[in-house]
Amino acid sequence: MRLLRKLLRTPEGAIGLGLLAVLALVALFAPVLAPGDPLRIAGRALTTPFTDPAFPLGTDRLGRDVLAGIVHGARTSLLVGLAAACAALAIGLCVGLAAGFAGGIVDEALMRVVDAFQIVPSFLLALAFVSVIGASVPVVVLAIALGAWADPARLTRAEVLSVRERDYVASARVIGMHPVEIAFREILPNVLPPVLALAAIIVAAAILTEAALSFLGLGDPNIVTWGSMIAEGRNVLRSSPFLSVFPGLALVVTVVGVYLLSEGLSKVLSSRGGAT
């Protein structure tokens, strides 16, 4: 659609989308690019990268293929990132809409809850959550989402408050539209753009948080993640630093891609949404 084309015309949008497209493809085709279980012992331990064509990025202490780890780890990172952001946005949008629309006591109460979630450091919240319920991908996603929904909620509410008083909403009310219908047909489409710009930032933060949790040993132990690979590599940092460097680079590239996309998105959305 037009938005996509406009996005590709900005350098940030083009590079960001490009990077993420490559990553998405890698993640999607992981079982093809690196068949088998990435956590299985594939070869000799601690092969240096770029020496053995079977293991282009080398192997770790147990002989696991680093490239397979990176490729499969991309799945986890992208999956967790997107899922956590979607969950955070969904919760945030609902709460923000409710608060902005209802006003009064409901608004006040909801905003205090939002405050509470913004005050507690999201990483500590994620830590507590994972420690209590156990470490698995859905739990990690929920934990990150709980730490991230407060900002979209606040933003949504602010947008609702500003849009609510505009003329086209008043006319909808005069015609006799049901409030819920007004919420979805008039208000939501206008609230969405700035919240979407925030979405990319949440995805990036989610990816980094998941990596940090895995690094501390609090991620899902049954799958390979970039964070756990970095933690693994920590043991042989002096002799084989590449074990930690490659997954780290993968993280940097992914997050840079997300940020570039978000910058491109805000450029495109602000240029068209500015005139009222």
Binding site: A212, F215, Y259
Partner: protein, 329 residues
Amino acid sequence: MNRALRLLRRRAVGSIPVLLIVVVLTFLLLEAAAGDAVDAYLLSIGGGDAAIAQSLRASYGLDQSMPARLWLYLSSLARLDLGWSVAFDRPVRDLILERLPNTLLLMGSATALSFAIGSALGIVAGARPGSGRDRVLSTLSLVLYAIPGFWLGLVLSTVFAVQLRWLPTSGIETIASGRTGLSRAADIAAHLALPVATLTLVYMALFLRVMRAGMAEVWGLDFVLFARSKGLSRARIVLRHVARNALLPLVTMLGLQSAAMLGGSVVIESIFAIPGFGRLAQEAVSGRDTALLTGIIVTSAVLVILVNLAIDIVYAALDPRVGASERGA
């Protein structure tokens, strides 16, 4: 001064219900723990029978109903008693007070440095938006901000502590060195250099971007054109007019980031083995010590509230429009 105090009081009072919500929600969350601290403790000592578990629970008050325990917790909180840590066998409050100063030192230095360097570079970039200098700095900050803090910490540690041996790899000071005064301070500084550097690099990127974005926006405002029409020097316009106004959203961002920074201390302290507050959180998680974890979360909330109050005062000092009633059209 009056304006600031009024604002302060209003904000402080408004924070109390929020803190209450934090405490209640945290308590409810940790209730969901299948197996509490006693289980973890028994596991660590190699097992024990049900009777021991029962008596332990009774002595720690862990066998009462949930609402009763919540009420008990709230009332002790009012007395500033944060409960007992089963994993460490010490009062939670003592543990926190012992570990907090190290983290505050770490975070404080990192925040100050990153704010100073980040805003300075942001001013350099924002002095001429779109220039080559701006583009280089913006790209640099983007990449820096994308680097995971823990990975950067590992890299710096490997290069400077392990390979080059310029700095110590872990801890906050050389143990049992018996140093005092300036020598001790220097020792601590050497130990904190790498973790502070790591955090500074990551957060500096954020402040650079916010300052630069703020300046780019302020450049378009009319009073800057008016300043140009008065023929003022470029330096004065950039610093006294543009940057001075761009400082405002930056200060706000500092407040918003305080919670994230506190959370970030967990991994950094883990990598550099700093005996701080963040590390304590990790230890509480591995020890399944719900009382300690609750205490940590509540303390973090209080810290963030205090930091935000301080930021509010600073902001009010910087922006004369805050809290003032408008006179005139």
